[in-house]
């Protein structure tokens, strides 16, 4: 039973030039306790989708269709129908979001403790002592010294410590879903590693489901169970993590995989994706990836292809040429795309 079911979700932004179709007909399930990574370039719609899931979108955004169904076994509802108080409850108690550990994610003039207290009170935890106990427990869990951190202001903490604080704060009300937006971007390598290990550990201990938004494929390789590739607002591929890394079937996923060099193993044939993403106000005819796609044929101009089952039932790609992609990548060995194409 999925904890979150998203069906045909579409989100537009109003602009002077006309509506920007930032998220188009997105459908996916998030199972209890699983980790889903959403990858794509900037402008692919992944952040709009993530923010849309907890209805924190800017005022210019409008959900034009769809359903976001939450069901934790005890309570079930459509997130899009929630109003004020219930929506606020959903936002932290059921589904929390961890933003990039920028200073702007904090109130600069209050201490970290006051920040936890505010959050707890705003979400009805009431009793100050209860919030205090829970806060200390969580800071221990993310390997921070509560005595030191609670008295500090955000600017007194390093980037890695700030990210740990934000993670602890997200867990304050024991949510079933945690959404992380670029959780390790802008952190140094060793700090990045510590945060990844921490998230893996917390997930095992607390059993929440996770949605990761990242342009960094290595975070997905580390933590994801399943992945979605987004392009021009649509989900163009949905697969298990190994399938997406070693057997991608959408040419855009192939392009992304090939664009990232590695430190270990063979370098392979690394290459950028030519061209740039389409204008989301005036989408091209047919498949939106057509102009950049090395596999395209005339027929790709006829329609923006729906997700088609490929290889296994748990693997879908929105590409009529997926068999040609499979043939180009050759055998199903567990080797990265850049090596197969070398």
């Amino acid at each position: 039973m999925p904890v979150l079911s998203v069906r045909d979700l579409s989100i537009d932004y109003r602009t002077r030039r006309g509506p920007v179709h930032a998220v188009r007909d997105v459908t996916f399930d998030l199972e209890q306790g699983e980790t889903l990574a959403i990858i794509g370039e900037s402008g692919s719609g992944k952040t709009t989708l993530a923010v849309g899931l907890i209805r924190l979108s800017p005022r210019s955004a409008r959900v034009t269709s769809g359903e976001i169904r939450y069901d934790d076994g005890k309570r079930a509802f459509d997130v899009l129908s929630l109003e004020s108080e219930r929506l606020r409850r959903f936002r932290w108690a059921d589904c929390a979001m961890v933003f990039q550990a920028a200073l702007s994610a904090f109130n600069p003039v209050i201490t970290i403790w006051e920040q936890f207290l505010d959050t707890g009170r705003a979400h009805g935890m009431g009793d100050k002592h209860k919030i205090h106990d829970r806060t200390r427990e969580l800071l221990d869990l993310v390997h921070l010294d509560p005595d030191r951190v609670l008295r500090s202001y955000a600017h007194e903490l390093s980037g890695g410590m700030r990210q740990r604080v934000l993670i602890a704060m997200a867990l304050l009300l024991d949510p079933r879903i945690v959404i992380l937006d670029e959780p390790t971007t802008a952190l140094d390598i060793l700090t990045q590693r510590a945060i990844i290990d921490l998230l893996r550990d917390l997930r095992a201990k607390l059993g929440f489901a996770t949605i990761f938004i990242s342009h960094d494929l290595s975070i997905a390789a580390e933590l994801a169970d399943r992945m979605l590739t987004m392009y021009a607002g649509r989900v163009v591929e949905r697969a298990g993590v190994d399938d997406l890394f070693y057997r991608p079937r959408h040419p855009y996923s192939v392009g992304l995989m090939r664009a990232v060099p590695r430190v270990s193993g063979a370098l392979g044939s690394v290459a950028s994706i030519p061209g740039s993403p389409p204008d989301l106000i005036r989408l091209p005819r047919g498949c939106s990836y057509y102009p950049r796609c090395p596999f395209h044929v005339e027929q790709c101009l006829e329609q923006d292809p729906p997700l088609l089952a490929v290889d296994t039932p748990d693997h879908e790609a929105a590409c009529i040429r997926w068999e040609a992609v499979a043939a180009a990548l050759g055998s199903d060995a567990e080797a990265p795309v850049a090596e197969k194409l070398a």
Binding site: G160, I189, L190, T191, I196, S218, I219, A221, A259, S264
Partner: protein, 336 residues
């Protein structure tokens, strides 16, 4: 070995802050040949940007010398200094801040062409078109009249590179030049910079925190790994990433998450004592890696500051233990 083109000779740089004096770069020597590619790699605060700015002649070393074709740059004057300024160009990290938003691409490229090459009118236009083609912005004529806001991050970075090329530089220092552009197009920008080194014999220094980027860009060159203001390892790229000699390089490489689930989930780690880099205001004795180092030996590593010494395969490493054992740290730690 041919004559070095540009050289840092035992340079240090200190900054005075309200909290005290910090030494951002401490006694670094680095010599680069014509058409060489080198990557300066390290975490924030390691001094890589300060080193890059000193190489570009934008920041005067507190001590030590910057040599260009053997002559001390900070003793140059007049035309001689102007020639150095043209020879070394910097490409900045943020293509959104480094181009003037009120100028078209033509207005950005024309002044340096007029000043340094006396190219005006038709000749200038032809030169601009050829530059834009060289950096892959085609059809070039269309780009001349555009403003920066009409371009993507990657295209802006190409304009920055074209601007650097207006004066036929011999050295380009690119500080995190791809970290702000989308992953999907980083490789093409790195290829562009790499071609400048191979086809036009430009010496290219890429400053990056991303070892995977350094490995790709520097595949025919060298990598210098910096820690707390010093170079701790300097070696050809492939041996450095496959068999790092310094325990810090080994720890970084072991910690990097990689875009390959099987590799990244089974990597052997190097466990360090303490995840955070010490503050530059409160350095450990010996100003080095020993408080965090799994190979550190008391009485040795905390007493004498290790300097770069030679290990087999032309690599230099500043580690007492690796030098004594004549073995890269990665092998001593069993992570190869």
């Amino acid at each position: 070995m041919s004559e070095p083109l540009i050289e840092l000779d035992r340079v240090s740089r200190t900054y005075t802050t309200r909290a005290g004096t910090i030494t951002a770069v401490d006694d670094i020597s680095l010599s680069l040949e014509q058409s060489e590619t080198i990557c300066l790699v390290g975490e924030s605060g390691c001094g890589k940007t300060t080193t890059g700015r000193m190489l570009a002649g934008l920041l005067r070393p507190s001590s030590g010398r910057l040599l260009f074709e053997g002559a001390d740059v900070w003793k140059k004057k007049g035309d001689d200094l102007a020639r150095f300024r043209r020879a070394v160009q910097l490409v900045h990290q943020d293509p959104y801040a480094s181009l003037n938003p009120t100028r078209t691409i033509a207005q950005t490229l024309a002044p340096p062409l007029a000043k340094h090459k006396k190219a005006h009118g038709k000749a200038a236009r032809a030169a601009m078109i050829s530059l834009l083609e060289r950096v892959g912005l085609t059809p070039a004529a269309d780009f001349l009249l555009k403003y920066p806001h009409q371009l993507s991050g990657g295209q802006r970075q190409r304009v920055s590179i074209a601007r650097a090329l207006t004066v036929d530089p011999r050295v380009i220092v690119a500080d995190e030049a791809v970290s702000m552009v989308d992953v999907s197009i980083r490789i093409s920008l790195l290829d562009l910079l790499h071609n400048l080194a191979t086809e036009f014999h430009v010496t290219t220094v890429l400053i990056t925190h991303d070892l995977a980027v350094a490995r790709y860009f520097g595949r025919k060159g060298r990598i210098a790994v910096m820690y707390l203001g010093r170079i701790v390892e300097l070696a050809a790229t492939e041996p450095l990433v496959s068999d790092p000699a310094h325990p810090y390089s080994a720890a970084l490489i072991a910690a990097i998450p990689e875009a390959d689930p099987a590799i990244t989930r089974t990597k052997r780690r190097v466990s360090l004592k303490g995840a955070e880099v010490p503050s530059l205001l409160n350095l450990p004795p010996g100003r080095a890696f020993h408080p965090r180092c799994p190979l550190a030996e008391p009485g040795l590593c905390d007493v004498v500051i290790p300097t770069l010494g030679n290990l087999s395969g032309g690599r230099s490493v500043a580690c007492h233990v690796a030098l004594r054992e004549r073995q890269p740290a990665a092998e001593l730690l069993g992570v190869v």
